[in-house]
């Protein structure tokens, strides 16, 4: 069984909500849509205070090529355009909509019937994907239409569908595959048509045996789509790691892209969103969110309208446990801590995780003992101890020389450090500064 070669760790899977059917959460009273839910320029609001909107109405236009529009997931009245503390932990501009009823835009197909045939041309499909505001659903929220338009000089030969879900606790992609396998296969075929290729590989980690079996039986009759079970290892869901695991190719350091080695990687959630956007004309207005945690009463997988406050999801899962020490949006390895439970669900919210106080508190940091466990764990082959020390000393040149921009911020180094050093915090800081220096240098040229 394949996996990537260097580094990686094996955290406790803790998939508490595996096998729990996807349930639909009730509509919120007020939905909040932050304008920057994706990588790139923030969206520009195209509604005003007091406007009436329906489910699926576009409320913000893309702010550039590297951007994505935002649609209302509820019907009601725009109450204000103000700022909200979102999952990033900062106050950002957002559109607030007071919900009344559930009126949909008339041209959205709300039926469950499977639409197999897609007669649209490549440009029409891309247009629908762009207009539906589809972004990478794995958490990074990279606009999908940008990823599907690779540079002209790169020859793509394989589409890799990321159904790895290597983050502990999260099960949303797993359940999506179990319940919507047909739609996903149609979605893959649409993406193949857009890219003009005929080979797709769906990578699934071996702990999701039922999903592997189901997908294999569904694709046995479809040519060009291959299911590849992968050995369990974190961070296999990382784009570069998955490419190596599936094809054996290594993506060169930035600014090289996966397209340079002939691969396009899309998350399985994105594939489903593409299916809905192209075949059902339904914009990205809801997503599957795993609500979980060791002391949570009822860990579950919820189909949630974007903009719903996180508190409503927690309530559905049996309320916030008293011993909660940290509330995280996403998984325990790469997720971001939430400042409070009022933050809205956005396009990249794959999970809401409540970690008990005892597990959440970081131990006191001690000195580096040069054991090189972080070096062994780094899936990018970097030397985190060196990068962290350089960052601590403000030595950005050393950090840049040692390939800091290749870091994918997976957190393997920090999780293995026996001295409990906050390696990732320092690396992130240096990455931010070095990124700024590189941008300034490029701007000068």
């Amino acid at each position: 069984m394949n996996t990537f070669k260097i580094g990686g760790v094996h955290p406790e899977p803790n998939k508490l909500s595996a096998g729990k059917k996807i349930e639909t959460l009730a509509l919120p009273n007020q939905a909040v849509f932050p304008l920057s839910q994706h990588i790139g320029a923030p969206a520009v609001p195209c509604v005003q205070k007091g406007d009436q909107v329906l489910v699926g109405t576009r409320i913000a236009d893309a702010g550039g090529f590297m951007s994505s529009p935002i649609h209302s997931s509820v019907s009601g009245k725009v109450s204000k355009i103000d700022s909200v503390v979102d999952a990033s932990g900062f106050r950002k501009p957002a559109i607030f909509i007071d919900v009344d009823g559930d009126e949909w835009e008339p041209d959205i197909d709300r039926t469950d019937t499977l639409a197999l045939l897609c007669t649209l041309s490549r440009e029409e499909i891309l247009d629908r994907i762009r207009n539906a505001g589809v972004v990478g659903m794995g958490g990074a929220c990279f606009p999908t239409h940008v990823k599907l338009s690779p540079p002209k000089d790169c020859k793509i030969d394989v589409l890799i569908v990321n159904a790895v879900e290597c983050e502990p606790y999260l099960t949303s992609d797993h359940m999506l595959m179990l319940e919507h396998s047909d739609e996903i296969i149609v979605g893959v075929r649409i993406l193949l048509k857009v890219l003009g290729i005929d080979r797709a590989v769906i990578g699934i980690e071996e702990n999701k045996a039922d999903a592997i079996q189901l997908m294999q039986s569904k694709t046995s009759m479809v040519s060009g789509i291959e299911i590849m079970p992968l050995k369990m290892k974190y961070p296999q869901g990382g784009e570069k790691q998955l490419i190596e695991a599936v094809t054996g190719r290594q993506v060169p350091p930035p600014p090289a892209l996966p397209a340079n080695v002939g691969c396009v990687v899309q998350n399985v959630g994105t594939v489903f969103a593409v299916y809905e956007a192209v075949q059902k004309k339904k914009p990205l207005i809801e997503r599957i969110v795993t609500v979980t945690g060791k002391s949570v009463k009822n860990p579950c997988n919820l189909k949630v309208r974007l903009g719903t406050p996180v508190s409503q999801l927690i309530e559905y899962a049996g309320g916030m446990p008293e011993d909660t020490g940290k509330l995280i949006s996403g998984g325990p390895m790469m997720g971001r801590p939430l400042l409070d439970d009022k933050a809205p669900v956005v396009k990249g919210t794959s999970g809401i995780l409540m970690i008990p106080e005892a597990d959440a508190v970081r131990c006191a940091e001690r000195n580096c003992i040069r054991c090189a466990k972080c070096v062994q764990a780094c899936p990018m082959g970097l030397e985190p101890y060196l990068l962290a020390t350089a960052s601590e000393a403000g030595d950005w040149a050393t950090a840049e020389e040692n390939w800091i921009m290749s870091c994918i911020e997976c957190g393997c180094c920090q999780s293995t450090c026996p001295s409990r050093r906050p390696l990732l915090d320092w690396v992130r800081l240096a990455k931010n500064r070095v990124g700024g220096i590189i941008r300034a240098r490029n701007a000068k040229k």
């Binding site: 503390v85 320092w426 931010n432």
Partner: protein, 299 residues
Amino acid sequence: MSFLLTAVLVLGLTGLLLGLVLYAVSRKFKVEEDPRVGQITELLPGANCGGCGFPGCAAFAEACVKSESMDGLKCSVCKSEVMQQIAAITGHAVEVGVAKVAVVRCAGSCTNRPRINSYDGAKSCAAAALMNGGETGCFFGCLGCGDCVRACKFDAIHMNPETGIPVVEQDKCTACGACAKACPRMIIELRNKNKLDRRVFVSCVNKDKGPVAKKACSVACIGCGKCVKVCPFEAITLDSNLAYIDFEKCRLCRKCVDECPQHTIQAVNFPPRKMASPSESQQQVPATENSVEQLKAEI
């Protein structure tokens, strides 16, 4: 005996020979250094703080000697007399700068600004500022990890353990600006030292709307604009819900201090106030005739 003699002779001759070689080399490859560089370096404080924009004191001295004028060359640490001495050595004219001091523009202590979260990552304000908005509802104020304290080469800024906010020791502060540069929230500002070290400044950098700022911190600037109206010298401006006092225009009349409903504007090193009488305010305000009259008329 002859062994001893041989050893002494061999060593002695080798030493002499090498000495001659060293002498020849040092004559041949002698580096001519301007003696003024050494003189200036001796005058400089030698902290290598980088406040002047050069890698260290020696580099600054070299720049002083090489450049045509003293424009843009200023050791912020040195007193103006020292700068004049340097100018005398180089033979250029120097402008006498106004003495400045670092001012911490945040009063968000634990009591004023209750913590609603806790941060347990890397002990660095810069790292904390990247992570999220911080431990309090105020996303602009002091993060309390002490990047400014570590940046200070003169031991002039320390964390107050009670408030969790850094305090500047004005006698030690040399206004090199290292702390201001290190602060990711840009709270620290270099302001004029003024007579008797008296200063009036807005101790807040929160740009949120009034209610949001007030909820996060009991001494936050809410952008009400009362100080702007009351200032007789037009020294106060209001920009995105935040008042700012221009220290070049401020005449330290302290009218804004009394007017501020949030007690955000701080006046330091003033004697405790008695009942305000016209004669007293006249003493305290070294203002032009015109503005004093204006003040009198208002009182």
